[in-house]
């Protein structure tokens, strides 16, 4: 049935089908065709927020975001509400974002760095303070996210999502439930069935947690200890993954991964033999935030866009698509119970209390990287 409906829909939308074939056949005209016929054809939700006042700038916005990290109709809804055309470009990791903007802003208005990169960019003078008067929807944010260590009073950033690192595991293969970092970091119990995140800083900080310290209190001596531990554990680790550990878990390549709760929650929808837990020693929190880089060509539009993303309805649609934990209390209230009460998406407060945000430490970061190179080469 679905096949027939798709074909009918395609036939109905002849123009789009022809466009697709034309592009494919000619290649060159492709970009041109797509550029001029911005066919949205998506609904402007009646319940969407009221029309936003025009800001007086040219109605364009360049948004630099992670892939599929937005609702399916959000950009079109925003255009319907404000008349501003949003052009979304993509990056895959924070370092790429930073490396790209390091030499100067090539024209982006809104970017989505993670919390430690917000600190980095503030230090490097790459982002501008936000004008809260243009972002009234800040009231929708859960109070616990307003005064955070990496951006007190939300001077430079607005929270978009938040995440916590933990252990994703396959219930049928991993017994007992791994409530500590030990099976992942310090034991051969699951040898050859483990995958760790390939991020040096996160790994070192989590080992620090396992050893009972705070993520931001590691010293050079600690690095040496942890390096030795990692080298000892390395033979039992199957692979280091680049933030796609959830794929390895689903495929059955490994049974335990170090991953973000949001990624595992997305996979749990399709595979119910998978679960997630925050170990008892505590873990690290992350948050992806919205910022305006220096030299943005449309700062007023940027503020209006950030405000729109924080709206309750818009936030709900975004969360429905990406299923990550949201710091937007108003949006969360509109979500179904299966989401609100999901212990993977919103872990119990007792465990969360033991989790911290990583602080950006320019003195330690190079040491982590060099030590990790040594671990990988050992």
């Amino acid at each position: 049935m679905e096949q027939r409906t798709t074909t009918l829909a395609e036939l109905a939308n002849r123009r789009s089908l022809l466009k697709g074939l034309g592009v494919a056949a000619v290649g060159l005209s492709f970009g041109g065709l797509a550029a001029c016929s911005k066919e949205s054809g998506n609904s402007t939700d009646a319940a969407a927020s009221a029309k936003i006042a025009p800001t007086g700038e040219e109605p364009k916005l360049n948004f630099y975001n992670w892939d599929t990290y937005i609702g399916e109709t959000t950009l079109d809804d925003f255009k319907g509400a404000s008349g501003t055309d949003v052009n979304m470009s993509l990056f895959a990791t924070n370092d790429e974002l930073f490396a790209k903007l390091r030499a100067g802003n090539p024209g982006f208005d809104v970017i989505v760095p993670s919390n430690d990169f917000v600190e980095r960019m503030v230090t490097a003078d790459m982002i501008v303070p936000l004008d809260h008067a243009q972002i009234p929807n800040i009231k929708n944010i859960d109070p616990s996210f307003i005064d955070v260590a990496y951006d007190p009073g939300r001077k430079y950033s607005m929270p978009y999502t938040w995440l916590v690192l933990g252990i994703g595991y396959r219930k049928s293969k991993v017994k007992p439930v791994p409530d500590s970092w030990k099976p992942l970091f310090d034991s051969d119990q699951y040898k050859g069935r483990i995958s760790l995140l390939s991020e040096a800083g996160d790994l070192f900080r989590l080992y620090g947690k396992y050893l009972g310290k705070s993520v931001n209190d590691l010293t050079a001596a600690d690095i040496k200890t942890i390096e030795a531990m990692m080298i000892k554990q390395k033979p039992f680790v199957k692979a280091f993954h680049e933030d796609n550990g959830q794929d390895l878990l689903v495929k059955g390549e490994v049974d335990l991964v170090l991953e973000y709760n949001g990624d595992i929650a997305q996979k749990m929808v399709e595979d119910d033999d998978i679960d997630f837990i925050i170990p008892k020693e505590g873990s690290q929190l992350n948050s992806d935030t919205l910022c305006i880089p220096k030299g943005a060509p449309h700062p007023k539009n940027a503020h209006a866009f950030i405000n729109y993303l924080l709206d309750a309805q818009a936030g709900k649609k975004i969360t429905e698509t990406i299923l990550y934990p949201t710091p937007n209390a108003a949006a969360k209230a509109l979500m179904p119970d299966t989401y609100k009460n999901n212990p993977v998406v919103f872990p119990p407060a007792a465990l969360l209390a033991k989790c911290e945000y990583a602080k950006f430490r320019p003195d330690m970061q190079p040491l982590y990287e060099e030590a990790f190179t040594r671990v990988r080469a050992a």
């Binding site: 990791t93 370092d95 790429e96 930073f98 490396a99 390091r102 980095r120 230090t123 490097a124 790459m126 390939s198 991020e199 040096a200 800083g201 390395k234 033979p235 680790v237 199957k238 692979a239 280091f240 680049e242 495929k251 059955g252 390549e253 320019p362 970061q365 190079p366 990287e369 060099e370 990790f372 190179t373 040594r374 990988r376 080469a377 050992a378």
Partner: protein, 300 residues
Amino acid sequence: MQDWKRQPGFFAGIAAAPVTWLILFFIVPLGIVWAYSFGRNTGLTSIDISGTFANYARALEPLYLEIFLKSVAVAALTTLICLIVGFPVAMAIAFAAPRWKPWLLLLVMLPFWTNLLIRTYALLSVLGTRGFVNQSLEWLWNHVGWLMTAIGLAEPGPFEPLPLLYNNFAVIFGLVYVHLPFMVLPLYAALDRLDKSLIEASLDLGAGHWKTITRIVAPLAAPGIISGLIITFVPALGSYLTPDLMGGTDSQMIANVIERQFKRANDWPFGAALSFMLMYATFILIALQALRNKKIEARS
């Protein structure tokens, strides 16, 4: 080969475009990064070009040299396998009937117009623990087991999937997979329209096929073989995606380390130093090769 002074006009006409482009869009940008390799980070985005050699000293530490040598070994093995696998393919295309040639070329090139990441994901599906290969082997194993019990032999134990991924085997497999056309194309270009009468003469005189290939075809196609070797070895040495996605915990190659410096570590001067070490080595090799050619030319 003639001296440029004999036809300065023609020479200038030919040399102008490539040399200007190379200087403007390659030497100049690279020059900036080369300057960085003599600098150090002052703050997160600024680099002070202080003329220091500290980065190069660090690049020569045993840790990095070891990684470099290991990468060379992996790239060399990949190139060798590509040569062995690719040479017959290139020969088949070069000696094929003219109407089949474009199709065979297309056959070889087509996989490589698919995006590398998608192909790697597909390779991961094929080689994984529950991938295509292992599932077929498991099916065979189970049926063999049934057969063996039917004959009366002991039943073989449970199927152990082959560890085809997340180790060095996977890295080499992936690298060969990616770089094969880079070997086949130059070989084909050199073998095509090779003077066939020479080969026929050699065969008529009694040399077998093997001898003909090694003594006649290979030397005549030498420039093609060498260019094939170069454009396979060098990118293989610099590949970081395949080791990243398909390798195990000790499959780190030099390009992964360099990438880490430019991205996570935010240490552009050191990354530049490592990159340039790679380039100095290759530059010297190629310049030596050119000088050697010059000597051979002078002799003949």
